[in-house]
């Protein structure tokens, strides 16, 4: 007979047996070991009918096709750029995906993207060997000029963005900053010095309190409070 050992939304650690029984199915972040379903990582266990999945709370970014990410140029080659994706794997931006402009044979590629530049790009393909191809063709994909890039926990990115981008819109308006959030946990912020600070402090607060309920209200209050001071 099957048995579930965890409550819904309970924190689970790697190696923890979440359930036993063949009629329960392992979802994302879990695996089956004989009769048992075991957690793969630290996260919140979610029970959905017969499946158990984990919403991860920690861990590095794992590249996924279709994600918009912020990358740093780490190498300029003959026919493209190599990018640091803030994960274990680097991405390749080929010349034909980089710009719609004509690039002459043998042109100096650093005039488009130079070493150390940050760019917003989109993952078009991830192979089974985790070779990543990205493109710069699409709305909002560009080179980032000015401002600064901060690093946050990848798993908190959905909370920072909010439902249909509500949270990040709220920060943008209150802090009067330009903000770009990459799925890989890098966030670009550009604005006046004090405004940038408020945006960063707000993002750090979201990161810390992302598991609490009523987060949007809390952040709204926090922004109201601190905006007046500035």
């Amino acid at each position: 007979m099957s048995e579930i050992n965890v409550k819904d939304k309970e924190i689970s650690v790697p190696g923890e047996t979440l359930a036993t029984g063949m009629d329960i199915l392992p979802g994302i972040g879990t695996y089956r070991n004989g009769e048992k379903i075991v957690a793969n990582r630290l996260g919140l266990a979610m029970i959905e009918g017969r499946t158990i999945k984990l919403i991860p709370l920690s861990g590095r970014y794992i590249p996924k096709t279709g994600d918009t990410i912020i990358c740093k140029v780490i190498d300029v080659g003959f026919n493209g750029w190599r990018l640091d994706t803030n994960s274990a794997y680097s991405a390749m931006l080929s010349m034909k995906d980089a710009t719609s402009e004509f690039i002459a044979r043998g042109a100096n590629l650093t005039q488009y993207y130079d070493l150390g530049d940050y760019i917003v790009c989109k993952i078009v393909n991830v192979t089974s060997q985790k070779l990543i191809d990205v493109t710069m063709k699409g709305p909002g994909l560009r080179k980032l000029k000015g401002g600064r890039v901060i690093d946050v926990n990848t798993n908190k990115v959905p909370r920072i963005i909010g439902k249909q981008g509500s949270m990040v819109m709220m920060i943008k308006e209150a802090a009067k900053c330009n903000i770009s959030v990459g799925q890989n946990g890098l966030i670009w912020i550009y604005g006046e010095p004090m405004d940038e600070l408020l945006a960063i402090q707000t993002i750090r607060k979201i990161e810390k309190e992302s598991h609490m309920s009523g987060l949007t209200e809390k952040i709204k209050e926090y922004l109201e409070e601190n905006r007046r001071k500035n």
Binding site: G116, D117, L144, K145, G146, G147, R148, P193, M194
Partner: protein
């Protein structure tokens, strides 16, 4: 490599503010000094400046003096940049960074005459105490120089001799005799970015520095050591200003010991 970051920092500095909201000549908070944290060492300390954390351990060994200074003990400073403290650090023999860190700490202590080497002599020409200072950064969030020299000093301050019967050292038994610390050399690293001077850089700022000057000074403001780094030159006026900042800030750090 970090042109964008550098120009952004410069525009912030012009407004009198740093990336993390600090003023130009402000250390990160909190600064913590914990003494005697390693049982097996004769003296030890852990220093935290913001997120930067450094542990220093002191061992005392009996050895032979150098032939040119038969009545003087000696100090040996070693730093190991552990990969756990920064993703850029790698295992292996110490690199330029580690050697520089160790030498800056060494020079501060040596040149200020913080330790009277003559008092470290046990038997002239035969036996001396060797003070071995080991620096381990636990987390490198910038400004290892200041954190390491503060930690080294704190550790020296609470170092006690192990018992020694003339033949063998018994490290299990510590005597009440303390290592005599004559002076308190404090190192402050002053950074120049654009035409502004800052202290206590964080990781981001360290990437964008033009030049840095580590200023070691003792209680009365006497300079005892300098170390210049970074790719850009400094003018005489720059150095004057940096020395003033360094000596001023050292007073602040001295309170934590």
């Amino acid at each position: 490599m970090h042109r964008e970051l550098r120009s952004h920092i410069i525009s912030l500095l012009a407004a009198g503010i740093r990336l993390d909201g600090r003023k130009l000549a402000e250390y990160r908070e909190p600064i913590e000094v914990e003494n005697n944290i390693v049982k097996t060492a004769e003296g030890s300390a852990r220093v935290k400046i913001g997120d930067t954390e450094v542990i220093v351990g002191i061992k005392l060994e009996v050895g032979e003096p150098y032939p040119d200074t038969p009545d003087e003990g000696t100090i040996i400073v070693g730093a190991e940049l552990l990969p756990l403290s920064n993703p850029d650090f790698e295992l292996g023999p110490p690199g330029i960074q580690a050697i520089e860190l160790a030498r800056v700490v060494d020079r501060g202590i040596r040149e200020s005459k913080a330790l009277d080497f003559k008092k470290l002599c046990i038997e002239k020409g035969e036996k001396i105490w060797m003070v071995i200072i080991d620096i381990c950064p636990i987390n490198d969030a910038g400004n290892l120089f200041d954190a390491a020299s503060l930690a080294a000093l704190a550790a020296l301050k609470n170092t006690r001799y192990p018992s020694f019967d003339g033949e063998k050292v018994d490290y299990k038994v510590k005597t009440d005799k303390k290592l005599a610390l004559e002076k308190m050399p404090i190192a402050v690293t002053v950074i120049k970015i654009g035409d502004k001077f800052i202290v206590d850089p964080d990781t981001e700022e360290e990437k964008a520095i033009d030049s840095r000057l580590t200023v070691s000074s003792i209680e009365d403001g006497t300079l005892c050591a300098l170390q210049k780094g970074g790719d850009f030159p400094l003018t005489m006026e720059d150095i004057d200003k940096m020395l003033d900042i360094g000596i001023e800030k050292a007073k602040e750090l001295r309170k934590y010991l």
